[in-house]
Subunit: 277 residues, 2 copies
């Protein structure tokens, strides 16, 4: 999916919500455990309930890999289900990969050829040749810039002798590899006031923003400092939507939660002139 | 496996070779493609041929994931085969993972509980809470410090105002999370002269050293600057061993290549007084 289509979907549906499919076998409703593929059954219900209110889904690979090959089957079935039934959804593999060139190529082959995903999250530590193999036409690299966790302070704020912080260097250097049509950045919602700094370096890029909800970030603050003329934000919520309820009504509860966030997003999109009042 | 046992294996077998099982369906000998699980068939023959000459195996997950769930089955079978038949081998999942705490926990569960691996490679960019969940008793985090690829120069050498380079900061800060009994570092063989600098920060740690062979690093130089009193090195070779020959004799060729490297290592271990002359 290209940038234009993504932006059109955001305007048409009045939402920039990404639902994180962090589907943990230890947390899904008990009654699903009787199903042949409980994780897929869970995802399918969540997707059917929330697709109207979001433009993207982000399964985090860790949750699938923790079940071994069985989990990978659930992941593949989920991606196929989305592709077949909701072709307007942007699908992100949250994998945080990055390896030497010939190895990154294989990960890219896996996500973009074996599976038809739109984007993959990539870690920047190994530099250019670890990232470039993920650049495919109409596919996206979403590079970690400033993450939502406490550990982001260990290295990402390291300041060089010119006063440039590591996350700023990542933003600057990576733009020599690809532009805003093939690259997005992960910026945690918990980094509120940093969004203005990020926008100095990446005014036109989409930012994938985890950390609203369970991790404590504020949607309003993210939008205030982070929105641009094409929205430029995909705000992810995982646990607060998918685990809104643990009974047989879980998908209805997830839907209500997604709908609530979508309503807030619609107000903010109007306020910032992205969609008509 | 703890550090003492690893060092004993190194002395007993006079080798610190790690064989990288970067088993690519597009590169393995053609005749294996008739097998029910060609990647496992390839790995099994490689392992049987080389186990005498190495102390560790390092399958890189990318090569398995590129085949989807099927590839993961081959990976799991390979790990089980090693565990059942070669219990003295140290098994490393080269995965370069790292995510927010609750997600890293799942990756750790996958590698250390679902599978009984000894170590996993982890990327440091997201800091402490992304790394700590991988700390298990008698298991290892192998943290990326200075990688073997060209892109290592993009961020890893970034110098802060005190003159400290990012990879040095990674070495220093991560030692507040775990000591040399639970943590190793990845240092590329292509970084030859940097090993002396690394040893200033991590004198007692084991270093996992990729990049000898196909990537051009020199074993002699790595040992000269990197060896310590408990050897402290696991030197990995992947392509130059496993693809030494593409005919039906591939495993014999792999054995000859592993044996050659082991002989060189034995000489170096004697030269540095690790084993008796």
């Amino acid at each position: 999916m290209n940038r234009k289509t993504l932006f059109e979907n955001i305007k048409r549906k009045a939402t920039f919500l990404c639902v994180g499919l962090d589907s943990d076998i230890k947390k899904i409703p008990m009654h699903l455990l009787e199903q042949e593929d409980p994780i897929f059954a869970f995802n399918k219900e969540i997707i059917d309930a929330t697709a109207e209110y979001c433009v993207a889904y982000k399964p985090n690979l860790a949750f699938y890999e923790s079940l071994g090959a069985t989990g990978l089957f659930s992941f593949e079935r989920t991606v196929s289900y989305l592709r077949d039934n909701y072709p307007d959804q942007f699908i992100i593999a949250d994998a945080k990969r990055g390896d030497i060139g010939n190895t990154s190529e294989l990960y890219a082959r896996s996500f973009f050829e074996h599976l038809d995903l739109d984007a993959v999250t990539v870690a920047p530590y190994m530099g250019e040749d670890s990232v470039k193999p993920f650049l495919y036409p109409d596919k996206w690299v979403i590079l970690l810039a400033l993450t939502s966790n406490k550990g982001s302070h260990d290295f990402q704020f390291t300041t060089d002798k010119n006063g440039e912080r590591l996350f700023e260097k990542v933003l600057k250097v990576s733009q020599t590899w690809a532009d805003e049509n093939q690259m997005m950045y992960v910026v945690g919602a918990t980094q509120g006031e940093m969004f203005a700094d990020i926008r100095k370096y990446a005014p036109n890029h989409f930012l994938l923003v985890p950390g609203v909800g369970a991790q404590g970030g504020s949607l309003e603050e993210v939008v205030k400092y982070g929105i641009n003329k094409e929205c430029g934000l995909l705000v992810n919520s995982s646990r607060s939507i998918i685990y809104a309820d643990s009974s047989e009504n879980f998908s209805f509860a997830a839907q209500q939660e997604a709908k609530k966030i979508q309503s807030e997003m619609a107000v903010l999109l109007k306020k910032h002139g992205i969609i008509a009042d």
